[in-house]
Amino acid sequence: MPIKILVTAKRVEDYESKIKVNAQGNGIVLEGLKYKINPFDEIGVEEALRLVAKHGGGEVVVASVGTKDVHEQLRHALAMGATRAIWVNHAGPLDQMTVAGCLQKLIEKEKPDLAILGKQAIDDDQNQVGQYLAEWLGWSQATFASKEESLESEAEKSKTPALQLSADAKTLTVIREVDGGLETLECSMPCVVTTDLRLNQPRYASLPGIMKAKSKPIEEHTPATLGVDATPKITVTKMEHPPARKAGIKVPDVATLMDKLKNEAKVI
């Protein structure tokens, strides 16, 4: 049974970037930063592709909100194998409520069976959009999706999807990372899933994939055309670095370390 899945591709600073607060203390220094697809979103794209492959085809639609720069992240998802893309054109500050509102409207138009989002974006680290979206759609939610097998297991090597869709496509079984262990959650479809680190290892885009992505369509919307109020409800008024932890000393051996822990730090 073919399956239609909506995924996301937020544009974020590369996780290896050194983030510096600007002189005004109201933003970060943008010069020299590299941008990538949010790694958790990339895991979502991978899982969607695996599900479509397993369930006899379908469609993976990737969406992103931002300036035209987000085309880079949409093309990345298309090169991995997503079918087509939707760009919500918006400049200026964005918060989780606006993004969830835009995704809600897109989902009401597109009517996918499932939405898979990153559990959080690695820039603002809020971890909210999936849950807002599920509530506003009235869908089930499975946050922090993971699996029991490790990323070096056979199941991972054979690109088996971790999310289990029932034969009648009415329920989705998701293993979640919860406090104190792993939970198996059975969700009625449609469902919003958010991905954790160990759901899968995303594939590299192949050269033919990159070539094909260039001709795949990107549909354009704006929050206004979707009927979403983009006024931020969350405003960052100040940014600063946390107090730096000073490097301590190197000790030559265990005896010196023991002495320091006992007599200087007094923690043993």
């Binding site: 996780y15 607060v21 971890n127 599920a134 198996t184 160990r198 405003t235 946390p242 370390l257 822990l261």
Partner: protein
């Protein structure tokens, strides 16, 4: 004046999850700044017993919501029950601890209340209710942002390491209420595989011994040292990704955030993502063969050595010192 409502979490055995006490302190700070009352809500099949425990911790009212459909703490049923109560008691702030459960349910509660939310708050700034703001980490803790929420109701999760646990300070009132059951169930928990350990919980331990890629998956010496110290065991992302240790032991921005008295990092290079989860520790010891590893830039005491050689030595020294 804004009332503050804190969502209480239970452990699998039904007892209080300690992280809730940290969230209550965040709630207390907000209540005193706004001049409002601190309320808490317990949701369960039978919420009375846990509500009676929570009322001791400086809470004005504990709302005990008991209903058969609340037997499982899932977001689809928790969100409507909390939102309904928050509206009834005119809560201006609704929050929970930044545990996995809190991170799961709180945004759905906020969505239902059309409220904006600040995740993993580190503090509350501003003196009066008109200009209260939250501080919270961004970019894996590389930046601390001060954020202002402009919706009528405001939601948050509180990072447990930044708020001391609430202490017992006289009994509040317990009020029972019966949340309405939703039209249909959306989700159910079919099983829970608990990571059982005789060691203290990672987020509550006084000492944490953590291993990274340098262990090559061999945690024998890490475990032995941890047991000598009565410590919890932690791990880096690489270790959990490889399946060498359960995911539940991962320390880092997206795993557990810990702040013990002593954190011993063995064979951990110190990626920013890992450091974000442990840099609040009082004393940090790094043991690594690579003297250039970034972990040494934040360690109080660094030992450039083979962990398989020095961990047993350290264990023996600690044993001898007892």
């Amino acid at each position: 004046m804004s009332n503050v409502l804190i969502v209480v979490e239970a452990q699998p055995d039904g007892s209080l999850r300690k992280a809730t006490l940290n969230a209550l302190t965040a709630g207390q700070q907000l209540a005193s700044k706004t001049g409002g009352e601190l309320h808490a809500v317990v949701l369960a099949k039978d919420a009375a017993a846990l509500a009676n425990t929570v009322k001791e911790y400086g809470v004005k009212v504990v709302h005990a919501g008991s209903a058969p459909h609340l037997a499982q703490f899932t977001a689809d049923v928790v969100a409507p029950a909390v939102a309904e109560l928050a509206t009834a008691i005119k809560a201006g702030y609704v929050g929970a601890a930044a545990t996995q459960a809190g991170r799961d349910v709180m945004p759905r509660i906020a969505a239902r209340l059309k409220a904006a939310m600040a995740s993993e708050i580190l503090g509350v700034v501003g003196a009066s209710s008109a200009d209260l703001q939250f501080t919270r980490p961004m970019w894996a803790g590389a930046v601390i942002a001060t954020v202002k929420l402009s919706t009528a109701i405001k939601c948050f999760t509180a990072r447990t390491t930044e708020f001391a646990p609430a202490e017992k300070s006289g009994a509040g009132e317990v009020k029972a209420f019966a949340p309405a059951a939703p039209a249909k169930a959306l989700q159910k928990i079919v099983s829970f595989k608990e990571v059982k350990s005789a060691r203290p919980a990672l987020t509550e331990a006084r000492v944490v011994v953590a291993g990274g890629r340098g262990t090559k998956g061999d945690f024998k010496d890490i475990n032995a040292l941890a047991d000598e110290l009565g410590a919890a065991v932690g791990a880096s992302r690489a270790v959990c990704d490889a399946g060498w240790q359960p995911n539940d032991l991962q320390v880092g921005q997206t795993g557990k955030v810990v702040a013990p008295q002593l954190y011993i990092a063995a064979g951990i290079s110190g990626a920013i993502q890992h450091i974000a989860g442990m840099k609040g520790s009082k004393t940090i010891v790094a043991i690594n063969k690579d003297g250039e590893a970034p972990i040494f830039q934040i360690a109080d005491y660094g030992l450039v050595a083979d962990l398989f050689k020095v961990l047993p030595e350290l264990q023996a020294a600690i044993k001898a010192a007892k």
